[in-house]
Symmetry: C2
Subunit: 312 residues, 2 copies
């Protein structure tokens, strides 16, 4: 089969790959229809975490019986203390589709863990369904940090995930400010969300109950610390691989909470898309064939690019 392979330094479309075969009924094969390129993919393609294998963890496809599905990406053992404690996404023995030790979905077929499968209703089309995984990650935030109509919330970073986080916060009734570097991307957030360019935020000092850092930049936390009010919460939504010099004294003096946030609830994201609570179509930049995956990665790497999709 075809698959976009990462050798730990660069990517290359291969056509000589074996179809994956499930070793037990714990896994099933999904024939992939669409996959999305996310910033993590761009980082992995450049060598982040030394990943070697097929990329892709945002996808939709069909089971052998034709039903449309997507799947959560953490393959966990379900029997260790962490899993039994209700945190399978943190299973120390886990693999992660397209990220850690498990081939991803930018290929004709991908193996998914049976109990990670979610059915996709007909009201969500393939190009929208690719957003289920990142939208679930955005819905993780209100699971961890309670907020509502009484809350002022800032999202720092106007990338795809930043805009999804802003929409989810708005859906929960929060007063939302989206802060970023690109006027065109800020404009995508639509009505009901205040937008600010990053270099015009001095008036917003200490104004927010919750700040979500989706900058993907090592300096994001320091900026977030200037925006959050004493006793407030900063959610760290993107990993930055590098060490960064940081003064944590404000965290203590202002009793700030810093909360790491990763994967979220697929059912919530599927419902929000199916019920048109959130419309992800304005976030789509372009669609490429898997055969042009390398061109697609170039397009996704361009400054200000929205979500680039691969038709498999």
């Amino acid at each position: 089969m075809r698959g976009l392979h990462c050798d730990g330094r660069s990517i290359r479309l291969r056509r000589d790959l074996q179809d994956p075969a499930p070793k037990s009924n714990r896994f099933q094969t999904v024939r992939v229809s669409f996959a999305g390129i996310c910033d993590t993919d761009l980082q992995l393609a450049r060598g982040y975490m030394g990943y070697q294998g097929i990329l892709g963890h945002e996808f939709v496809g069909t089971l052998s019986d034709g039903r449309r599905v997507t799947a959560e990406i953490n393959n966990s053992c379900r029997v260790c203390p962490v899993c039994l404690n209700g945190r399978p996404n943190h299973c120390p023995a886990r693999t992660v589709i397209g990220i850690v030790g498990h081939d991803g979905a930018m290929a004709d077929h991908v193996l998914v863990q049976t109990d990670n499968i979610h059915f996709v209703p007909d009201t969500i089309d393939d190009s929208e369904a690719v957003f289920i995984e990142p939208l679930a990650a955005a819905f993780r935030v209100p699971e961890q940090v309670p907020f509502g109509p009484e809350s002022s919330l800032a999202v720092l970073g106007d990338g795809k995930l930043g805009i999804l986080c802003a929409w989810v916060a708005r859906l929960h009734g929060a007063k939302v400010s989206l802060i970023g570097k690109h006027a065109a991307k800020l404009a995508l957030s639509g009505a009901d969300i205040a937008t600010h360019l990053l270099d015009e935020i001095s008036a917003l000092r200490r104004r927010f109950d919750v700040v979500i850092d989706v900058t993907g930049s090592a300096s994001g936390l320091a900026t977030a610390l200037t925006l959050v009010q004493p006793g407030g919460t900063i959610v760290l939504k993107t990993t930055v691989a590098a060490d960064h010099a940081l003064n944590l004294a404000p965290v203590v003096v202002d009793e700030v909470r810093v909360v790491g946030s990763r994967c979220g609830p697929f059912p919530t994201a599927i419902r929000a898309l199916a019920e048109r609570q959130i419309n992800v179509r304005p976030l789509i930049e372009s669609v490429y064939s898997l055969d042009d995956a390398e061109l697609a990665f170039e397009a996704a790497s361009r400054k200000g690019a929205k979500k680039v999709l691969l038709r498999i």
Copy 2:
């Protein structure tokens, strides 16, 4: 009057100071009986935060009518949005006794905000009452992070505040491990608390629901991140003035919460001392006269020193 003055670089006992006089009934004068030297005082004496004035924020004394009192240290305006929102300890206009813009208690007299005064029962003697402020800071942790008999909790740092935090956690039923560099200080924690030398903790990796960092060291958070389990909480209890290189990726990947923690509930600390739930006497190193305050600071600075008190 006498007072231990810090000029922003060093300390000196002065005998030529004006008695403080309250400008309104928002403040009252306390005649100080005892004051404690804490690590923050040692840092301020070396120039931390550029504080200039009289040191001392752990103290007990008497009002003009002879009643024994101590006082909370944040003098807040009580009328700004932060105060009215129930967070007077974070008032942006606050001064802090002996730390920010308000003369401290290592002097014959100190001004305290009237609504910060707490009466000290006769069952708590003066040398114990000096611990009310740091013990309240330890009781701040369970206000912010719920834990109980089902929780495994590590305290990282075997200083006075570390041991107080361990005792408070034990009082809440948690299974407590105290980790530090000094066998003699670890031994002070008493029965019911497991103790570990810092260089013998490799087996404790990812074992704790809650880790309280009271190291006062910039490397404390990195160590705490190795001890906490995925989804767990790290409480930062001491400020470190310097920038420090840190990789925050584990915070996101493991969805750790990092919670800054500062001043706590005086009534809870007073009750715990009065009811002998916590016995602070083993933490007292020695008592000096205020006249020998400079010697007392030398004693408090010695490696492994317990709490040094000043008799005023």
